[in-house]
Protein backbone atom coordinates (compact mmCIF):
# COMPACT_ATOMS: atom_id res chain seq x y z
CA UNK A 1 0.00 0.00 0.00
CA UNK A 2 2.80 2.38 0.90
CA UNK A 3 4.56 1.81 -2.41
CA UNK A 4 1.36 2.23 -4.38
CA UNK A 5 0.76 5.51 -2.58
CA UNK A 6 4.30 6.70 -3.32
CA UNK A 7 5.26 6.61 0.35
CA UNK A 8 8.67 5.03 -0.08
CA UNK A 9 10.31 6.77 2.87
CA UNK A 10 8.06 5.48 5.61
CA UNK A 11 9.97 3.81 8.41
CA UNK A 12 8.75 0.69 10.17
CA UNK A 13 6.90 2.66 12.84
CA UNK A 14 5.23 4.73 10.11
CA UNK A 15 4.19 1.55 8.28
CA UNK A 16 2.58 0.32 11.48
CA UNK A 17 0.59 3.57 11.52
CA UNK A 18 -0.41 3.00 7.90
CA UNK A 19 -1.63 -0.50 8.77
CA UNK A 20 -3.76 1.03 11.49
CA UNK A 21 -5.07 3.56 8.94
CA UNK A 22 -6.06 0.75 6.59
CA UNK A 23 -8.03 -0.96 9.33
CA UNK A 24 -9.96 2.14 10.40
CA UNK A 25 -10.42 3.09 6.74
CA UNK A 26 -12.15 -0.22 6.06
CA UNK A 27 -14.41 0.39 9.05
CA UNK A 28 -15.32 3.86 7.82
CA UNK A 29 -15.92 2.65 4.29
CA UNK A 30 -18.18 -0.08 5.64
CA UNK A 31 -20.14 2.49 7.63
CA UNK A 32 -21.15 4.47 4.55
CA UNK A 33 -24.84 4.03 3.71
CA UNK A 34 -25.62 1.35 1.14
CA UNK A 35 -28.75 3.03 -0.16
CA UNK A 36 -27.21 6.04 -1.89
CA UNK A 37 -29.08 6.33 -5.18
CA UNK A 38 -27.21 7.21 -8.36
CA UNK A 39 -29.31 10.37 -8.56
CA UNK A 40 -27.87 11.72 -5.28
CA UNK A 41 -24.98 13.94 -6.35
CA UNK A 42 -22.11 15.02 -4.18
CA UNK A 43 -22.40 18.35 -2.34
CA UNK A 44 -21.73 21.18 -4.76
CA UNK A 45 -18.38 22.58 -3.68
CA UNK A 46 -17.55 23.66 -7.21
CA UNK A 47 -19.25 26.79 -8.47
CA UNK A 48 -18.68 28.87 -11.54
CA UNK A 49 -18.90 32.63 -11.12
CA UNK A 50 -21.84 34.26 -12.87
CA UNK A 51 -20.96 35.81 -16.21
CA UNK A 52 -20.17 39.48 -15.87
CA UNK A 53 -22.68 41.78 -17.54
CA UNK A 54 -21.64 43.77 -20.59
Amino acid sequence: VAEAAGLARLEDKHLAQLACSAETGRELSGALPKDLNWSEEMAPTFRLPPRAGR
Binding site: A5, G6, Q17, G25, P33, A43
Partner: protein, 500 residues
Protein backbone atom coordinates in the same frame (compact mmCIF):
# COMPACT_ATOMS: atom_id res chain seq x y z
CA UNK B 1 -5.40 51.99 34.43
CA UNK B 2 -8.21 49.45 34.72
CA UNK B 3 -6.82 45.92 35.13
CA UNK B 4 -6.45 44.93 31.48
CA UNK B 5 -6.31 41.16 31.90
CA UNK B 6 -10.01 40.47 31.54
CA UNK B 7 -11.08 43.64 29.80
CA UNK B 8 -13.32 42.65 26.91
CA UNK B 9 -13.52 44.15 23.44
CA UNK B 10 -16.72 46.11 24.00
CA UNK B 11 -15.66 47.70 27.27
CA UNK B 12 -12.13 48.43 26.07
CA UNK B 13 -13.47 49.94 22.86
CA UNK B 14 -15.65 52.39 24.76
CA UNK B 15 -12.71 53.36 26.94
CA UNK B 16 -10.38 53.79 23.98
CA UNK B 17 -12.94 55.84 22.10
CA UNK B 18 -13.37 58.07 25.17
CA UNK B 19 -9.59 58.26 25.57
CA UNK B 20 -9.81 56.68 29.01
CA UNK B 21 -7.69 53.71 27.91
CA UNK B 22 -4.42 54.00 26.04
CA UNK B 23 -3.96 51.28 23.37
CA UNK B 24 -0.23 51.44 24.10
CA UNK B 25 -0.69 50.88 27.83
CA UNK B 26 -3.28 48.16 27.16
CA UNK B 27 -0.91 46.37 24.80
CA UNK B 28 2.09 46.70 27.09
CA UNK B 29 0.14 45.29 30.01
CA UNK B 30 -0.99 42.26 28.01
CA UNK B 31 2.51 41.67 26.65
CA UNK B 32 3.85 41.69 30.19
CA UNK B 33 1.17 39.21 31.21
CA UNK B 34 1.99 36.91 28.29
CA UNK B 35 5.65 36.87 29.27
CA UNK B 36 4.73 36.17 32.90
CA UNK B 37 2.23 33.37 32.26
CA UNK B 38 3.22 31.72 29.00
CA UNK B 39 5.80 29.38 30.49
CA UNK B 40 2.99 27.73 32.37
CA UNK B 41 0.18 27.81 29.80
CA UNK B 42 2.04 27.72 26.43
CA UNK B 43 -0.78 29.57 24.68
CA UNK B 44 1.59 31.57 22.46
CA UNK B 45 4.28 30.06 20.28
CA UNK B 46 5.42 33.46 19.02
CA UNK B 47 4.98 36.92 20.55
CA UNK B 48 5.53 40.00 18.41
CA UNK B 49 6.01 43.00 20.72
CA UNK B 50 7.54 45.25 18.07
CA UNK B 51 4.65 44.71 15.67
CA UNK B 52 2.16 45.11 18.51
CA UNK B 53 3.60 48.29 19.96
CA UNK B 54 3.98 49.95 16.56
CA UNK B 55 0.31 49.26 15.81
CA UNK B 56 -0.69 50.40 19.29
CA UNK B 57 1.15 53.70 18.90
CA UNK B 58 -0.51 54.25 15.54
CA UNK B 59 -3.94 53.49 17.00
CA UNK B 60 -3.33 55.82 19.88
CA UNK B 61 -2.35 58.72 17.65
CA UNK B 62 -5.30 58.11 15.32
CA UNK B 63 -7.79 58.06 18.17
CA UNK B 64 -6.20 61.18 19.67
CA UNK B 65 -6.67 62.90 16.31
CA UNK B 66 -10.36 61.98 16.24
CA UNK B 67 -9.90 59.06 13.85
CA UNK B 68 -11.52 56.23 15.86
CA UNK B 69 -12.19 53.49 13.32
CA UNK B 70 -14.59 51.33 15.32
CA UNK B 71 -14.78 48.75 18.11
CA UNK B 72 -11.62 46.87 17.10
CA UNK B 73 -9.43 49.98 16.98
CA UNK B 74 -6.62 49.55 19.49
CA UNK B 75 -7.82 46.08 20.56
CA UNK B 76 -5.09 43.41 20.89
CA UNK B 77 -5.66 40.03 19.26
CA UNK B 78 -3.69 36.96 18.19
CA UNK B 79 -3.95 34.31 15.49
CA UNK B 80 -3.93 30.54 15.59
CA UNK B 81 -0.71 29.68 13.81
CA UNK B 82 -2.39 28.44 10.66
CA UNK B 83 -3.44 32.00 9.74
CA UNK B 84 -1.03 34.17 7.75
CA UNK B 85 0.35 37.48 8.92
CA UNK B 86 2.63 38.93 6.22
CA UNK B 87 6.32 38.62 7.00
CA UNK B 88 5.75 36.33 9.96
CA UNK B 89 6.14 32.52 10.08
CA UNK B 90 3.03 30.38 9.75
CA UNK B 91 4.18 27.04 11.12
CA UNK B 92 0.93 25.21 11.86
CA UNK B 93 2.83 24.22 15.04
CA UNK B 94 4.84 21.81 12.89
CA UNK B 95 8.43 21.09 12.05
CA UNK B 96 7.26 20.68 8.45
CA UNK B 97 6.58 24.43 8.11
CA UNK B 98 9.12 25.71 10.60
CA UNK B 99 10.68 28.06 8.00
CA UNK B 100 7.48 29.07 6.22
CA UNK B 101 7.18 32.86 6.09
CA UNK B 102 3.81 34.24 5.04
CA UNK B 103 4.07 36.35 1.91
CA UNK B 104 0.77 38.14 2.48
CA UNK B 105 -1.90 38.61 5.10
CA UNK B 106 -4.78 36.19 5.31
CA UNK B 107 -8.07 37.89 4.43
CA UNK B 108 -9.10 37.86 8.09
CA UNK B 109 -5.77 39.35 9.14
CA UNK B 110 -6.16 42.13 6.61
CA UNK B 111 -9.65 42.86 7.90
CA UNK B 112 -8.46 43.06 11.51
CA UNK B 113 -5.57 45.32 10.52
CA UNK B 114 -7.95 47.57 8.63
CA UNK B 115 -10.14 47.74 11.73
CA UNK B 116 -7.13 48.98 13.71
CA UNK B 117 -6.65 45.85 15.82
CA UNK B 118 -3.24 45.05 17.30
CA UNK B 119 -1.49 41.77 16.55
CA UNK B 120 0.19 40.25 19.62
CA UNK B 121 1.49 37.03 18.09
CA UNK B 122 0.80 33.46 17.03
CA UNK B 123 -1.06 30.91 19.10
CA UNK B 124 -0.52 27.22 19.74
CA UNK B 125 -2.56 24.72 17.75
CA UNK B 126 -2.65 21.00 17.29
CA UNK B 127 -0.21 20.23 14.49
CA UNK B 128 -1.85 21.23 11.20
CA UNK B 129 -5.07 21.57 13.22
CA UNK B 130 -5.34 17.78 13.33
CA UNK B 131 -2.64 16.23 15.51
CA UNK B 132 -2.68 16.80 19.22
CA UNK B 133 -2.12 17.25 22.00
CA UNK B 134 1.44 16.31 21.10
CA UNK B 135 4.70 16.43 22.99
CA UNK B 136 6.93 15.63 20.00
CA UNK B 137 6.63 19.01 18.24
CA UNK B 138 8.85 22.11 18.25
CA UNK B 139 6.57 23.71 20.86
CA UNK B 140 4.73 22.14 23.79
CA UNK B 141 0.92 21.94 23.77
CA UNK B 142 -1.16 24.63 25.45
CA UNK B 143 -2.34 23.90 29.00
CA UNK B 144 -5.88 24.46 30.29
CA UNK B 145 -5.99 26.77 33.30
CA UNK B 146 -9.05 24.96 34.60
CA UNK B 147 -8.04 22.21 36.99
CA UNK B 148 -4.29 22.11 37.08
CA UNK B 149 -2.66 20.53 34.02
CA UNK B 150 -5.61 19.63 31.85
CA UNK B 151 -6.33 19.26 28.14
CA UNK B 152 -7.58 22.59 26.73
CA UNK B 153 -9.26 20.92 23.76
CA UNK B 154 -8.21 21.64 20.22
CA UNK B 155 -7.18 22.28 17.73
CA UNK B 156 -7.46 26.04 18.46
CA UNK B 157 -6.02 25.36 21.90
CA UNK B 158 -3.76 28.39 22.28
CA UNK B 159 -6.59 30.72 21.30
CA UNK B 160 -8.86 29.41 24.05
CA UNK B 161 -6.16 29.27 26.70
CA UNK B 162 -4.95 32.81 25.98
CA UNK B 163 -8.49 34.09 26.47
CA UNK B 164 -9.09 32.02 29.60
CA UNK B 165 -5.96 33.34 31.34
CA UNK B 166 -6.49 36.96 30.32
CA UNK B 167 -3.67 37.35 27.82
CA UNK B 168 -5.94 39.01 25.23
CA UNK B 169 -9.60 39.87 24.55
CA UNK B 170 -9.84 38.44 21.02
CA UNK B 171 -8.44 35.48 19.09
CA UNK B 172 -9.15 33.66 15.88
CA UNK B 173 -9.35 29.91 15.51
CA UNK B 174 -10.30 27.46 12.80
CA UNK B 175 -12.93 24.75 12.88
CA UNK B 176 -13.00 21.72 10.56
CA UNK B 177 -14.52 19.18 12.91
CA UNK B 178 -15.12 21.33 15.98
CA UNK B 179 -11.75 22.99 16.56
CA UNK B 180 -13.13 26.36 17.66
CA UNK B 181 -15.96 24.91 19.75
CA UNK B 182 -14.00 22.14 21.46
CA UNK B 183 -11.40 24.36 23.15
CA UNK B 184 -14.05 26.98 23.85
CA UNK B 185 -16.00 24.29 25.70
CA UNK B 186 -12.99 23.01 27.62
CA UNK B 187 -11.75 26.46 28.67
CA UNK B 188 -15.09 28.18 29.49
CA UNK B 189 -14.93 30.76 26.73
CA UNK B 190 -17.13 31.50 23.70
CA UNK B 191 -16.41 30.28 20.17
CA UNK B 192 -18.39 30.67 16.97
CA UNK B 193 -18.07 28.53 13.87
CA UNK B 194 -19.82 30.75 11.34
CA UNK B 195 -21.72 29.50 8.33
CA UNK B 196 -19.46 28.03 5.64
CA UNK B 197 -18.65 30.89 3.31
CA UNK B 198 -19.31 33.77 5.72
CA UNK B 199 -15.64 34.27 6.68
CA UNK B 200 -12.88 34.00 4.09
CA UNK B 201 -10.35 31.16 4.37
CA UNK B 202 -7.82 32.81 2.07
CA UNK B 203 -4.38 32.73 3.65
CA UNK B 204 -5.37 30.07 6.19
CA UNK B 205 -3.50 26.77 5.98
CA UNK B 206 -6.19 24.23 5.06
CA UNK B 207 -7.04 21.02 6.84
CA UNK B 208 -10.01 20.00 4.66
CA UNK B 209 -11.14 22.57 2.13
CA UNK B 210 -14.81 21.75 2.13
CA UNK B 211 -15.15 21.65 5.94
CA UNK B 212 -12.78 24.45 7.04
CA UNK B 213 -14.11 27.55 8.79
CA UNK B 214 -12.40 30.50 10.50
CA UNK B 215 -14.13 31.60 13.69
CA UNK B 216 -13.99 34.27 16.41
CA UNK B 217 -13.12 33.31 19.98
CA UNK B 218 -13.76 35.64 22.92
CA UNK B 219 -14.81 35.57 26.56
CA UNK B 220 -18.29 37.01 26.02
CA UNK B 221 -21.03 36.77 23.43
CA UNK B 222 -21.05 40.52 22.92
CA UNK B 223 -17.33 40.50 22.11
CA UNK B 224 -17.80 37.55 19.79
CA UNK B 225 -20.40 39.47 17.80
CA UNK B 226 -18.00 42.40 17.45
CA UNK B 227 -15.15 40.18 16.29
CA UNK B 228 -17.29 38.34 13.75
CA UNK B 229 -18.51 41.70 12.44
CA UNK B 230 -14.92 42.63 11.68
CA UNK B 231 -13.98 39.44 9.81
CA UNK B 232 -17.19 38.48 7.98
CA UNK B 233 -17.75 39.35 4.35
CA UNK B 234 -17.31 38.27 0.77
CA UNK B 235 -13.87 37.53 -0.65
CA UNK B 236 -13.49 37.04 -4.38
CA UNK B 237 -10.37 34.98 -3.81
CA UNK B 238 -12.00 32.37 -1.60
CA UNK B 239 -13.94 30.01 -3.88
CA UNK B 240 -16.26 29.06 -1.02
CA UNK B 241 -17.05 32.65 -0.05
CA UNK B 242 -20.70 33.68 0.00
CA UNK B 243 -21.89 37.00 -1.35
CA UNK B 244 -24.39 38.58 1.02
CA UNK B 245 -25.00 41.64 3.16
CA UNK B 246 -23.59 41.31 6.67
CA UNK B 247 -26.13 42.21 9.37
CA UNK B 248 -25.35 44.19 12.51
CA UNK B 249 -24.66 41.37 14.94
CA UNK B 250 -24.45 43.64 17.98
CA UNK B 251 -27.91 45.04 17.27
CA UNK B 252 -29.27 41.51 17.49
CA UNK B 253 -28.14 41.25 21.11
CA UNK B 254 -30.82 43.65 22.21
CA UNK B 255 -33.70 41.54 20.94
CA UNK B 256 -35.60 39.23 23.27
CA UNK B 257 -35.72 35.49 22.72
CA UNK B 258 -39.40 35.31 23.60
CA UNK B 259 -40.72 34.46 20.19
CA UNK B 260 -38.06 31.98 19.18
CA UNK B 261 -38.49 28.23 18.83
CA UNK B 262 -35.44 26.27 19.91
CA UNK B 263 -35.03 22.59 19.05
CA UNK B 264 -33.44 20.42 21.72
CA UNK B 265 -31.32 17.65 20.13
CA UNK B 266 -31.46 15.29 23.09
CA UNK B 267 -30.73 12.07 21.18
CA UNK B 268 -27.17 13.23 20.47
CA UNK B 269 -26.23 13.01 24.16
CA UNK B 270 -28.82 10.59 25.57
CA UNK B 271 -29.06 7.90 22.84
CA UNK B 272 -26.34 8.19 20.18
CA UNK B 273 -23.75 8.74 22.91
CA UNK B 274 -24.11 8.92 26.66
CA UNK B 275 -22.84 12.26 27.91
CA UNK B 276 -21.27 12.71 31.32
CA UNK B 277 -24.26 13.15 33.66
CA UNK B 278 -23.26 16.64 34.72
CA UNK B 279 -22.85 17.70 31.06
CA UNK B 280 -26.26 16.29 30.14
CA UNK B 281 -27.81 17.98 33.15
CA UNK B 282 -26.27 21.30 32.09
CA UNK B 283 -28.06 21.11 28.72
CA UNK B 284 -31.37 20.26 30.34
CA UNK B 285 -30.86 23.17 32.74
CA UNK B 286 -30.02 25.48 29.83
CA UNK B 287 -33.25 24.45 28.11
CA UNK B 288 -35.05 25.45 31.28
CA UNK B 289 -33.32 28.83 31.37
CA UNK B 290 -34.29 29.51 27.76
CA UNK B 291 -37.89 28.56 28.48
CA UNK B 292 -37.95 30.93 31.43
CA UNK B 293 -36.66 33.62 29.10
CA UNK B 294 -39.74 32.98 26.98
CA UNK B 295 -38.43 30.75 24.20
CA UNK B 296 -40.36 27.70 23.09
CA UNK B 297 -38.15 24.64 23.47
CA UNK B 298 -39.18 21.44 21.70
CA UNK B 299 -37.32 18.19 21.17
CA UNK B 300 -36.20 17.49 17.60
CA UNK B 301 -34.47 14.57 15.91
CA UNK B 302 -31.63 14.82 13.42
CA UNK B 303 -29.67 11.97 11.84
CA UNK B 304 -27.67 9.81 14.27
CA UNK B 305 -24.31 11.28 15.27
CA UNK B 306 -22.50 8.30 13.75
CA UNK B 307 -23.74 9.16 10.24
CA UNK B 308 -22.37 12.70 10.44
CA UNK B 309 -19.12 11.38 11.94
CA UNK B 310 -18.56 8.83 9.18
CA UNK B 311 -19.15 11.50 6.57
CA UNK B 312 -16.88 14.08 8.20
CA UNK B 313 -14.07 11.64 8.98
CA UNK B 314 -13.83 10.36 5.42
CA UNK B 315 -13.86 13.85 3.94
CA UNK B 316 -11.23 15.13 6.40
CA UNK B 317 -8.98 12.11 5.77
CA UNK B 318 -9.11 12.45 2.01
CA UNK B 319 -8.81 16.22 1.71
CA UNK B 320 -6.05 16.42 4.32
CA UNK B 321 -4.04 13.69 2.62
CA UNK B 322 -4.37 15.45 -0.73
CA UNK B 323 -2.83 18.53 0.88
CA UNK B 324 -0.02 16.70 2.67
CA UNK B 325 0.88 13.76 0.47
CA UNK B 326 3.98 15.31 -1.09
CA UNK B 327 5.46 16.14 2.31
CA UNK B 328 4.35 12.78 3.68
CA UNK B 329 6.21 11.06 0.86
CA UNK B 330 9.37 13.15 1.24
CA UNK B 331 9.70 13.82 4.97
CA UNK B 332 7.29 11.73 7.03
CA UNK B 333 9.57 11.95 10.04
CA UNK B 334 9.03 15.71 10.31
CA UNK B 335 5.44 15.18 11.45
CA UNK B 336 4.50 14.46 15.02
CA UNK B 337 3.15 10.96 15.58
CA UNK B 338 -0.49 11.98 15.98
CA UNK B 339 -0.66 14.19 12.88
CA UNK B 340 1.19 11.58 10.83
CA UNK B 341 -1.31 8.91 11.86
CA UNK B 342 -4.32 11.06 11.03
CA UNK B 343 -2.92 12.24 7.71
CA UNK B 344 -1.82 8.75 6.68
CA UNK B 345 -5.43 7.70 7.25
CA UNK B 346 -6.19 9.40 3.94
CA UNK B 347 -3.66 7.34 1.99
CA UNK B 348 -5.83 4.26 2.17
CA UNK B 349 -9.27 5.69 1.38
CA UNK B 350 -10.65 5.18 -2.11
CA UNK B 351 -11.88 7.89 -4.42
CA UNK B 352 -15.28 6.18 -4.41
CA UNK B 353 -15.41 6.44 -0.60
CA UNK B 354 -14.68 10.15 -0.80
CA UNK B 355 -17.35 10.72 -3.41
CA UNK B 356 -19.87 8.68 -1.48
CA UNK B 357 -19.05 10.67 1.67
CA UNK B 358 -19.76 13.88 -0.24
CA UNK B 359 -23.00 12.39 -1.54
CA UNK B 360 -23.92 11.43 2.01
CA UNK B 361 -23.12 14.98 3.01
CA UNK B 362 -25.64 16.35 0.54
CA UNK B 363 -28.27 13.99 1.92
CA UNK B 364 -27.52 14.83 5.56
CA UNK B 365 -27.53 18.55 4.84
CA UNK B 366 -30.85 18.37 3.03
CA UNK B 367 -32.47 16.40 5.84
CA UNK B 368 -30.99 18.54 8.60
CA UNK B 369 -32.09 21.80 7.02
CA UNK B 370 -35.59 20.37 6.56
CA UNK B 371 -35.81 19.98 10.35
CA UNK B 372 -34.35 23.44 10.90
CA UNK B 373 -37.00 24.96 8.66
CA UNK B 374 -39.37 24.57 11.58
CA UNK B 375 -37.16 26.10 14.27
CA UNK B 376 -35.06 29.21 14.83
CA UNK B 377 -32.11 27.43 16.41
CA UNK B 378 -31.13 24.20 18.14
CA UNK B 379 -29.55 23.42 21.49
CA UNK B 380 -27.38 20.41 22.29
CA UNK B 381 -24.04 19.45 23.78
CA UNK B 382 -20.73 20.52 22.29
CA UNK B 383 -18.75 17.66 23.80
CA UNK B 384 -19.90 14.74 25.94
CA UNK B 385 -17.28 15.08 28.65
CA UNK B 386 -15.47 17.63 30.77
CA UNK B 387 -11.76 17.93 30.20
CA UNK B 388 -9.13 15.40 31.28
CA UNK B 389 -5.44 15.44 32.08
CA UNK B 390 -3.27 16.71 29.24
CA UNK B 391 -0.74 13.92 29.70
CA UNK B 392 -3.39 11.19 29.44
CA UNK B 393 -3.23 10.58 25.68
CA UNK B 394 -5.89 7.90 25.70
CA UNK B 395 -8.38 10.07 27.57
CA UNK B 396 -7.65 13.07 25.30
CA UNK B 397 -8.30 10.97 22.19
CA UNK B 398 -11.47 9.53 23.68
CA UNK B 399 -13.12 12.78 24.71
CA UNK B 400 -12.03 14.44 21.46
CA UNK B 401 -14.11 11.94 19.52
CA UNK B 402 -17.10 12.00 21.90
CA UNK B 403 -18.63 15.14 20.49
CA UNK B 404 -21.59 16.65 18.62
CA UNK B 405 -19.76 19.35 16.67
CA UNK B 406 -18.92 17.59 13.39
CA UNK B 407 -22.53 17.50 12.17
CA UNK B 408 -22.45 21.23 11.58
CA UNK B 409 -19.18 21.19 9.69
CA UNK B 410 -20.88 18.65 7.44
CA UNK B 411 -23.95 20.86 6.95
CA UNK B 412 -22.05 24.16 7.10
CA UNK B 413 -24.53 25.70 9.55
CA UNK B 414 -23.42 28.26 12.15
CA UNK B 415 -22.74 26.73 15.55
CA UNK B 416 -21.35 28.23 18.71
CA UNK B 417 -20.16 26.92 22.05
CA UNK B 418 -20.43 28.85 25.28
CA UNK B 419 -20.06 28.16 29.01
CA UNK B 420 -22.96 26.34 30.70
CA UNK B 421 -21.69 25.82 34.22
CA UNK B 422 -19.11 23.73 36.01
CA UNK B 423 -18.84 20.20 37.34
CA UNK B 424 -18.76 19.61 41.06
CA UNK B 425 -14.98 19.39 40.73
CA UNK B 426 -14.84 22.79 39.01
CA UNK B 427 -14.35 21.82 35.35
CA UNK B 428 -16.12 23.76 32.59
CA UNK B 429 -19.37 22.52 31.08
CA UNK B 430 -20.70 23.96 27.84
CA UNK B 431 -23.57 24.08 25.42
CA UNK B 432 -23.83 24.35 21.68
CA UNK B 433 -26.33 26.47 19.74
CA UNK B 434 -26.88 25.80 16.04
CA UNK B 435 -28.64 28.06 13.57
CA UNK B 436 -30.00 28.16 10.08
CA UNK B 437 -27.44 29.16 7.41
CA UNK B 438 -26.22 32.76 7.83
CA UNK B 439 -28.40 33.27 10.93
CA UNK B 440 -25.52 33.97 13.31
CA UNK B 441 -27.47 36.94 14.66
CA UNK B 442 -30.15 34.61 16.02
CA UNK B 443 -27.50 32.56 17.83
CA UNK B 444 -25.98 35.69 19.35
CA UNK B 445 -29.41 36.83 20.47
CA UNK B 446 -30.07 33.53 22.30
CA UNK B 447 -26.53 33.18 23.64
CA UNK B 448 -26.44 36.73 24.98
CA UNK B 449 -29.75 36.29 26.80
CA UNK B 450 -28.55 33.00 28.29
CA UNK B 451 -25.19 34.47 29.27
CA UNK B 452 -26.84 37.40 31.03
CA UNK B 453 -29.27 35.10 32.81
CA UNK B 454 -26.59 32.74 34.11
CA UNK B 455 -23.33 34.68 34.38
CA UNK B 456 -21.24 31.61 33.53
CA UNK B 457 -18.91 33.62 31.29
CA UNK B 458 -17.77 35.74 34.21
CA UNK B 459 -16.09 32.88 36.04
CA UNK B 460 -12.28 32.74 36.01
CA UNK B 461 -9.94 29.84 36.72
CA UNK B 462 -9.31 29.75 40.46
CA UNK B 463 -5.61 29.06 39.99
CA UNK B 464 -5.23 32.47 38.34
CA UNK B 465 -6.62 34.22 41.37
CA UNK B 466 -4.21 32.27 43.50
CA UNK B 467 -1.30 33.12 41.26
CA UNK B 468 -1.51 36.87 41.30
CA UNK B 469 -4.50 37.64 43.48
CA UNK B 470 -5.50 40.65 41.43
CA UNK B 471 -7.58 39.23 38.60
CA UNK B 472 -10.51 41.21 37.28
CA UNK B 473 -14.15 40.82 38.06
CA UNK B 474 -14.23 37.06 37.75
CA UNK B 475 -15.80 34.68 40.21
CA UNK B 476 -14.51 31.35 41.42
CA UNK B 477 -17.10 28.77 40.37
CA UNK B 478 -16.93 26.31 43.21
CA UNK B 479 -14.97 25.97 46.39
CA UNK B 480 -12.37 23.29 46.80
CA UNK B 481 -11.18 22.98 43.22
CA UNK B 482 -7.92 21.11 42.79
CA UNK B 483 -5.15 23.70 42.93
CA UNK B 484 -2.86 24.13 39.98
CA UNK B 485 0.88 24.18 40.22
CA UNK B 486 2.60 27.47 40.85
CA UNK B 487 3.69 29.30 37.70
CA UNK B 488 7.19 28.74 36.49
CA UNK B 489 9.62 31.61 36.39
CA UNK B 490 8.74 34.29 33.88
CA UNK B 491 10.61 34.09 30.62
CA UNK B 492 10.53 35.52 27.17
CA UNK B 493 11.74 32.22 25.71
CA UNK B 494 8.69 30.75 24.08
CA UNK B 495 10.08 27.79 22.22
CA UNK B 496 9.73 24.68 24.33
CA UNK B 497 11.74 21.54 24.28
CA UNK B 498 8.94 19.54 22.76
CA UNK B 499 9.24 16.92 25.46
CA UNK B 500 6.60 16.27 28.12
Amino acid sequence: MTDPAFLGIADAAEMIRGRRLSPVAFTEALLERIVRLNDRYHAFIRVTPDVALAAARQAESEVAAGGWRGPLHGIPFALKDVIDFAGMPTTAHSRVLIDNIAAADAAVTARLKAAGAIMLGKLATHEFAIGGPSFDLPWPPAVNPWGGANFPGGSSSGSAVALAVGMLPAALGTDTGGSVRNPASMCAITGMKPTYGLVSRRGVFPLAYSLDHVGPMTRSVRDNALLLQAIAGHDEEDPGSARLDIPDYSAALQARVGRLTIGLVRHFYAEDMQAHPEQAAAIEAAAGVLERLGARVKEIRLAPLAEYATCARIIIRCEAYAIHRRWMAERPGDYGAIARQRILDGAVMSAADYIDAQRLRARLTRRTLAVFAGIDAALTVSGMDPTCRLDDAEACARIYSRQARQPFNVTGQPAMALPAGFTRSGLPLSLQLIGNPFQEAVLYRIAHAYERATGWSEHRPPELARQDGQEGPGKTPVPGQTPGKAPTEASTQLRGTGSP
